[in-house]
Amino acid sequence: MKQLLLITTFLLTCLAGSGQEIYSCKGPKISFFSSAPMEDISAVSDRGVSAINIKTKAIYFKVHMNSFQFKKALMQEHFNENYVESEKFPFAEYKGKYAEDVDFSKNGTYPVNVEGTLNLHGVERSYKGKGTITVRDGKFNVNSKFNVTVADHKIKIPTLVVKNIAEVVEVTVNADYQPVTK
């Protein structure tokens, strides 16, 4: 029985220990921009969620498509209704990993290579990209930019409005992480 107790205690400590490896961000700033002959399109969401496990180097992002705010209300409606079909595919989800070793105990800016899978519009695509991790006093910031080709995710643009919408969209991610406290 004593052993059991010991093991249980160890188990609990172990769980708590693994918790400190995980850092999360509520409300990463995810934006996209595209330049088309007729008009530039940009939208931003700060209602997503993200987490990073600094031991396994795993990165995770999830954002509700409905939460992207556009300058024009009608554009936002078209984006959700006709292009990304938010009712059918409510979320975009990213699961990836960064390659480099980052010393999270030392302040500084670390460039990293990131590789992962983006699920957008129900279609998974793998992406490779670059980003930076900026460590400051036990917290850190992640910044990354990558290009998404809308056709890769089976997002159809009708010929009628092809001049209004770009085929490649630049996505920018900026998130501040804090350790997860249980």
Binding site: Q3, L4, I7, T8, F10, L11, C14, L15, S18, I22, S24, R47, V49, A51, I52, N53, K55, T56, A58, I59, Y60, K62, H64, N66, S67, Q69, F70, K71, K72, A73, L74, E77, H78, N80, E81, N82, S86, E87, K88, P90, E93, K95, P158, L160, V161, N164, V180
Partner: protein, 309 residues
Amino acid sequence: MLQIRMLTALLLVAPAVMAQDDLSKMFGKDSVSRQPVIATFKSTRVINAQSNETLKKGELDFRVAHRFGDLAGGDGGAKTFFGMDNSSDIRIAFEYGITDRLMVGVSRAKGSGNFSQLYEALGKFKILQQTTDNSMPLGVTVFGNAVVTSMKSSTEEPDASYFDKFSSRMTYTGQIILSRKFGNILSLAVLPTYIHRNRVVFMDQNDMFAVGVGGRLRFSKRLALVVDYFLPFREQASKDYFEGRGTKFYNPLGVGLEIETGGHVFSVNFTNTTAILENQFIPETTSTWKEGQFRWGFNISRRFSLGGK
């Protein structure tokens, strides 16, 4: 001892599971799954009926609606190019979104019925929005307008257009729009309506209730079938009186195709009613589909975003 062994096994597995564990599990089902349902209808009108939709904050909607003359019957056919030579009603409107839920507007309509030369002021407010998780299964929107005629007063006192005082020129609509989008294809609206006309002819009704239904069936991303229908509750005595004098009232029915292209929503429709405003087409429709008294019409809506968010 077995217990301990099992626990040890669990202990060894647990961190491994934790390490491999999907970070996605941290967030699970979060609050963002409840969202208002968008694009129940593509425009603030179905055809003649209001839809649950309002303009978004800072949006200006320039609307033109046109109803031609009778397509067939005594006044239609080839000699009027199937009604195209005549216009029974024309409405030009500017409508504006004050918030994402409240819109106001002004319009000028030719008018068809007792009055012509109409000016309308309107307001529409979304009280409740249907949500994607069905915690709110219906949308509830209210609409109201006040319409004044600027036509010259008749000199004959029994006429509806004999205006002894300014208030005789006014008519009003009050309406509740209950709406629901079923999946991605079908949207329906039910519209309990109250019309008040300050001045009517003998045996007509100042107050009239009606119930309307509107629907939209999506064929593709850009094309939809739209239908609306109203059932006005006119008293039998009033119906009989007017029928005795050769005027029969009919229920307005509209059927149309709605095409959306970016900022434009365009609908081509057929209606038996000649008028465009609720204040007239609900109580004063005297034309029927059966005698060729239906017409081509179109609605055009062009939305502009004024200022950013």
